[in-house]
Symmetry: C2
Subunit: 204 residues, 2 copies
DNA sequence: TTGCTATTATACCATACAGTATGGTACAGT
DNA sequence: ACTGTACCATACTGTATGGTATAATAGCAA
């Protein structure tokens, strides 16, 4: 059917990329369909044919971007590492992903439009934070069974650890009060949090 | 000069109250000036005379609301309490304020409009989170000097504690994934966080 | 009552926007 | 070369909005 499927696919990607940048920069209401078309080339018809309209395009973009940005959160390979290292690795992963400029911009939009697009919140959460949380919980459970850390409520412990990681930083980032932390700052934050955590839950 | 100053003040308050509800419910772009006028009575001229326009009204509202909602954060009287109780008191205060429906709605708007109104982030932060953080830091310093808790970097400890309080909850609230926690849940979260914290920093 | 000012109600303006319609063009398959 | 489809450029439609102007009214001071 699709005669020039390759072309259409390419065009769709161009539109997605261009619109992504615009939405991230100016928010949903700050970008007009005309502006997207002007920058992407082609005509409005594309957007309405491919994505069903501005809202459809927006949903597609947030879905795409959430995957793209957040999926690394669930990728950290920690299962074979001892606690000290595992928590360090996942902590650095979490901080550098979640506090990055792009992730914060995305999160701002998702939060800001959560009235108009209530399903996006769930999508965002499912694309990274949730699997990361679950992976960490499972890891802590396993380490308990192995006797490497003290018995505890692993869900609660995970919440506390992630809380210490993100702490005040995520809020301040969202409010535009601080910039993205450097690799060095991230290392310090994570080291301290892991130390505190293992002082309670670790086996000395 | 102002002949009926009392009347004007009253009218201003009415407009503020009405517009506050609307903005919180539908966001900045979701509310038209006409809608505000219609609900508040009077005419557009008021808004332009009193507040200089929609943006001015919005700024006034966010400022007003931030004070109103967040100032309790800095009010908790903890200086004379021992660590266990002090941290419990302030933790409950923080959680019940910050995770409340109104605070979350306000925060959503501030975050969502932080591109258009960059100064609001700072205002929000200064109205509650920051003084609360500073008060807690000072408290921990004092307790160190009194020998009631172990020597530590009090800023870092504060960040960790607040992080454990808010943990994942604030994010999930902002994304609309969970509802405001009950008083009981708050108690549990705070108890656990304080226990973890004091297990590291407390003097047994 | 006679002025004066703030408030109201309403109409108006310029603009911006989402979405649709249309007429023309590039190009694949035949 | 012919045909049909997808695409392009552009104009148009209807509506909503922020902000201004204006004329009438209400209420206070003297």
């Amino acid at each position: 059917m699709k005669i020039s499927a390759g072309y259409a696919k390419r065009k769709q990607r161009t539109i997605l990329n261009v619109a992504t940048d615009l939405f991230i920069e100016r928010g949903y209401d700050g970008v007009s369909v005309d502006a997207i078309v002007k920058k992407a080339g082609g005509s409005k018809s594309n957007i309405y044919n491919y994505f069903g309209g501005k809202e459809g395009l927006f949903r597609a973009i947030v879905e795409d971007l959430s995957q793209q940005i957040l999926s690394p959160l669930a990728d950290a390979e920690i299962d074979s590492l001892p606690p000290q290292q595992a928590l360090n690795v996942i902590g650095k992963q979490v901080l550098s992903v979640v506090l990055s400029d792009r992730a914060i911009s995305l999160l701002r939009i998702v939060i800001g439009e959560s009235q108009k697009f209530p399903e996006l919140g769930n999508m965002f959460f499912t694309s990274g934070p949730k699997p990361c949380y679950e992976r960490l919980t499972r890891y802590l459970e396993k380490q308990q069974n192995l006797g490497k850390i003290k018995p505890c409520n692993s869900q609660q412990a995970t919440t506390q650890l992630i809380g210490m990681f993100l702490g005040f930083y995520q809020l301040q980032r969202l409010l535009g009060i601080i910039d993205a932390p450097s690799q060095e700052e991230i290392t310090n934050i994570v080291d301290d949090a892991v130390n505190t955590f293992l002082e309670v839950y670790g086996i000395s």
